[in-house]
């Protein structure tokens, strides 16, 4: 087994999606690592910003919440929530959002609200926050998941954030003019979505994990015909992640 953690592989795996000029919407946790790593390694001209309104902070220390003071320091602009969400949906910007979720379905729709009955839940989560908004507006959404069968489900207990909705053209028919689920990055693999059906398929499995293990841990059938092994994180990628992105090891 290679010498890196799940979080490291996930941060690198997701970070590789970011291109120069992208405006990257980051949440807490791994998404903070992925965004920062992306900017330091692959896309120095990407801009990281937060739903709280902090745009392009220095990030000498890694924030532990999107309202962390570290997202306000050395920014281009400190604004507010309304400004931030209007950036996510701005037609002249290519915005990529990192989200986390408790459940995902085959069309990349997300649940961050509740497990069980809505009014008498088994487990209540934090709720949408900005997730529903960025899922509605961003050019693309990358979701981080722990890869477990109970999280990759046929039917969400609650659809908080729209991915490809019911597949095909259904997202566009809702009235959402762009965006959709770009990828789901888990501790085992990277899932992507078919261009036409918008169904999730296995794109890359991490070194050391089998396709079977992924199928076993996914609660709906997935196409594995396009699967290939992911490039492991390079020494340089890991160095930057460990020494520059999160030297205090708060998230890693």
């Amino acid at each position: 087994m290679a010498d890196y953690t799940d979080n490291e592989m996930m941060a690198i795996g997701a970070g590789r999606f970011i291109k120069d000029g992208d405006i990257v919407f980051a949440g807490t946790g791994v998404s903070m690592l992925a965004a920062t790593a992306a900017k330091r390694i692959y896309a120095p001209k990407a801009v990281i910003f937060f739903e709280t309104g902090g745009i392009d902070p220095v990030l000498d220390e890694i924030p532990m919440a999107v309202a962390d003071l570290r997202v306000m320091s050395g920014t281009a602009l400190n604004s507010g929530l309304i400004e931030a969400f209007s950036i996510v949906g701005h037609r002249k910007l290519h915005t990529i959002a990192f989200l986390g979720a408790a459940q995902v379905d085959r069309f990349g729709n997300l649940n961050t609200t509740v497990i069980g009955d809505y009014w008498k839940p088994k487990t209540r989560f934090s709720g949408s926050g900005g997730a529903c908004d960025v899922a509605s507006f961003a050019s693309g959404v990358i979701t981080f998941m722990q890869h477990e069968k109970r999280r990759f489900v046929e039917k969400l207990d609650y659809l908080t954030s729209v991915g490809w909705y019911k597949g095909g053209e259904s997202r566009r028919h809702l009235g959402l003019q762009r965006g959709g689920a770009l990828a789901v990055v888990t501790n085992l693999c990277v899932m992507r979505f078919d261009e036409n059906t918008k169904e999730m398929y296995l794109a890359e499995y991490y070194p050391g994990f089998t396709v079977d293990k992924i199928v076993e841990n996914t609660g709906f059938p997935i196409d594995v015909s396009r699967a290939r092994e992911a490039e492991p994180p390079s020494a340089e990628e890991l160095r930057i992640l460990r020494e520059e992105v999160d030297p205090q090891r708060l998230i890693l």
Binding site: M64, A67, R124, V162, L174
Partner: protein, 325 residues
């Protein structure tokens, strides 16, 4: 009594601010976001005065929300997110209260709630958005039918409209404006003229304050008029929106206040430990809220050593190298 003659009628203590402006059943908006700039000092005072049946309207809130719910002050909640960053991915007392059906709750998203405050601040009755189309936010109403349209509860959670400017099938979600009874905001500075200046991110605080009937501002410091008026581009709220001003240094503790102090990992970890257990949580309230008679006493309990640890670098805004585990 006050040393600030221009705002003498507005400057008061926490106790008076709560007594004069907050009632059982008030609809209250709190400023800040998750771990930052929650108006904690006045929230503690609300708990001490045993205010009941609060209708809380939040976007993403953390510590302030959770302790108010945990203390049993909240009956009704409109919310996008209850979480406290790494210290509580889902706010613990909030989670319990929903799971035990102890509060009425209605889910929105952050942008939706922010837009509702914006609409309230502009005195417009509703505001359109496309956020929420296809989401269960539009399929589940949290509030029971019988409270709809009463007091400050909107007659509908939302309304769908065909965009009248577009020939195509183009639906938009109309969200009802929010005009809370009271907005509670913690700011870095209030001028001796009553002008408010917030530093760092302002979240939806300004919209909340403008949307509310009554605005209570707690602040780190009251500063000379000559300072606050020298560069008015930087100010956040004019004096006439502010009804009460309370000077409370460390008034956001254990949440952070940009350029003054960071969040307090020690206290948030303590909270995390006690919040999961009903009995420990009652002891926490007894010790840290009911058991202290003032915010000064609370700060004394935190202790100077801890205050030094969380002290922000005033230029960078946060506590560099703080152990945040």
């Amino acid at each position: 009594m006050s040393s600030y003659p221009e705002i003498a009628d507005k400057v008061m203590g926490l106790d008076e601010a709560v007594k004069r402006f907050i009632r059982d059943g008030s609809q209250i908006a709190i400023g800040g976001f998750t771990v930052t700039r929650n108006p904690m000092a006045i929230i503690y005072e609300i708990i001490r005065q045993r205010i009941k049946d609060i209708h809380l309207v939040c976007h993403s809130h953390g510590q302030g929300l959770d302790v108010l719910i945990g203390a049993g002050c909240v009956k009704r909640l409109e919310i996008a997110y209850g979480g406290n960053g790494r210290y509580a991915p889902t706010c613990i007392r909030f989670k319990k209260a929903v799971q035990r059906s102890e509060i009425e709750f209605e889910d929105y998203s952050n942008y939706q709630m922010s837009l509702r405050f914006l609409a309230g601040s502009l005195s417009i009755p509703f505001i359109p958005t496309k956020s929420g189309l296809g989401s269960d936010l539009l399929n589940y109403e949290g509030f029971p039918k019988e409270i709809r349209g009463r007091g400050k509860v909107a007659s509908k959670k939302f309304s769908l409209l065909q965009n009248p400017f577009n020939g195509e099938d183009d639906k938009v979600v109309l969200l009802p404006a929010l005009n809370p009874d009271v907005a509670l905001v913690h700011a870095q500075y209030v001028g001796e003229d009553g002008t408010v200046r917030m530093k760092g991110l302002t979240f939806a605080d300004i919209e909340q304050a403008k949307a509310a009937d009554i605005v209570i501002v707690t602040c780190e410091e009251i500063v000379p008029r000559s300072f606050i008026r020298l560069d008015p581009d930087q100010n956040s709220l004019p004096p006439f929106f502010v009804d009460a001003i309370v000077r409370v240094p460390y008034g956001a503790h254990p949440t952070a206040c940009y350029t003054f102090y960071d969040y307090d990992p020690k206290h948030l970890n303590l909270y995390k430990k006690v919040a999961g257990d009903d009995s420990l949580f009652r002891q926490y309230l007894d010790e840290w809220v009911y058991g202290v008679s003032s915010h000064e006493e609370y700060i004394e309990k935190i202790g100077a050593a801890q205050l030094m640890k969380i002290k922000a670098n005033p230029v960078l805004g946060y506590a560099v190298g703080l152990d945040r585990k």
